[in-house]
């Protein structure tokens, strides 16, 4: 199954490289939203809770864009049929899509986090990266797992573009809570991690539960 997951993931990454559909759009979106927040909050710099909130809400909204496009090519070009006709474990499709989304989020964050530092963050990221990194990675994992599941759930509905954000965002509230709470002390004027373990623990629990759930349930979304 790892081999098949790799095959599907490689195909998706190749397609993204050629079409450049998702990652540039998601990245541009986060930058635009930072500008919106600047005007909306009428602030030049943010720190602490406000900074953490703006950073994570923006990332979640960008994730919605990525999730909405996740099964687009499969739907338009019959990729699901091809997979169902092949002697492969269908869970590989979920793993490949979730991994793809994870990598897209990482790619977006490579630009979005420094951009946030540049545009809106008062104290500056400085030496907080070692603590920020696990938060980003565990958060991305949760978003990727739930995102792939929601993308599959919404794939067959007529009102796809509406259903994805309405479904995805409430489900990601625990991720938002954990990530914002974990990040907040890192972005304060007097920076330093606080209770990082507690929030990473919540994220890990969430990630484990939703990865297992999605893997268990995904097959039923593909069969007919």
């Amino acid at each position: 199954m790892i081999g098949v997951t790799r095959t599907i993931l490689a195909k998706d990454l190749l397609l993204e490289l050629r079409t450049k559909e998702s990652v540039p759009a998601m990245t541009l979106f986060t930058l635009t939203v930072y500008v919106l927040f600047h005007f909306g909050l009428d602030r030049d710099s943010l720190d602490g809770e406000l900074a953490a909130g703006v950073l994570w809400v923006t990332l979640l909204l960008a994730a919605v864009i990525g999730v909405a496009r996740l099964f687009a090519t499969e739907r338009e070009e019959g990729g699901i049929d091809a997979l169902l006709l092949a002697p492969v474990d269908r869970t590989a499709l979920f793993l490949a899509k979730a991994s793809g989304l994870f990598l897209f989020l990482v790619a977006v964050e490579i630009v979005a986090v420094p951009a946030f530092d540049l545009l809106l963050l008062g104290p500056g990221l400085g030496g907080t990266m070692p603590e920020l990194l696990p938060v980003l990675l565990l958060g991305n994992l949760g978003i990727a797992a739930v995102g792939a599941l929601v993308a599959a759930l919404a794939a067959e509905t007529r009102a796809r573009e509406l259903i994805v954000p309405l479904l995805l965002l409430p489900l990601l509230v625990p991720v938002l809570i954990a990530c914002a709470q974990a990040t907040e002390p890192l972005l304060r004027q007097d920076q330093g991690p606080e209770d990082l373990g507690r929030w990473l623990g919540l994220l890990t629990l969430y990630d484990v539960v939703f990865v297992l759930l999605s893997v268990a349930v995904f097959d039923y979304l593909l069969e007919d």
Partner: protein
């Protein structure tokens, strides 16, 4: 044991009947022609035989798999050529076939061989969206037979093909291939000429020989 055995096959779409009372027997190597007007259920039947749709009632056995319980036996043994080519438009023909080869566990060196047979080796590296419909159809056929399936399910296989191209593909999907085939086409006389068993469908049900299928 017959390659395909259907007895009273039924498939519903909610309350609407897509297929009902479909009965047929096809021996290995034979060709089944499925004739009918639009909406007669031809595509639905092909999808059931491919294992993509579950029958709701009736008995059905495809290759040695009892449907619906043994549907899992089918993937990899059926070559399906439907309306959609099942090719990614942004990837090249070669990349598409590589992808399918890996999914089916077929050696990747089969791909250049097959590309040569279908006469696509020169344009194999152009993205599918740049190819003519005839070329796309040729690639679709290649995709369908890449894994040496035991059963071919062909929905208008010669659509968009000029006679030369159709001839190239004969050994792959024609009678000469020796494979069990289910053939759907609007070219009634041509189809009948290369078939052993005929199934006529009207609104999902078998139609009598003299019944007009297209009214």
């Amino acid at each position: 044991m017959a390659a395909i055995e259907l007895d009273g096959l039924e498939r519903r779409y909610g309350e609407r009947v897509a297929l009902a009372g479909v009965t047929a027997r096809v021996e290995a190597g034979q060709t089944l022609a499925v004739l009918g007007g639009n909406g007669a259920g031809k595509t639905t039947l092909l999808r059931v035989l491919a294992g993509l749709l579950r029958p709701h009632a009736g008995a059905a056995r495809v290759l040695d798999a009892k449907l619906p319980d043994e549907r899992w036996k089918l993937p990899g043994r059926v070559g399906y050529l439907g309306h959609e080519p099942l090719l990614y438009r942004e990837l090249s023909g070669r990349e598409n076939l590589h992808y399918h080869a890996r999914l089916h566990g077929v050696a990747v060196r089969r791909v250049p061989e097959l590309l040569a047979v279908i006469g696509m080796d020169r344009r194999a590296d152009d993205p599918v969206r740049e190819l003519s419909r005839g070329m796309v159809q040729r690639l679709a056929v290649a995709r369908a037979v890449l894994h040496e399936p035991d059963l071919l399910l062909l929905d208008e296989p010669r659509a968009n093909l000029d006679p030369a191209a159709a001839e190239l593909l004969e050994p792959l999907i024609g009678r000469a291939s020796g494979r069990t085939r289910v053939l759907v086409s609007h070219d009634v006389s041509g189809t009948l000429a290369e078939s052993d068993v005929v199934l006529r469908l009207k609104q999902g049900r078998p139609a009598a020989e003299d019944e007009d299928l297209y009214r």
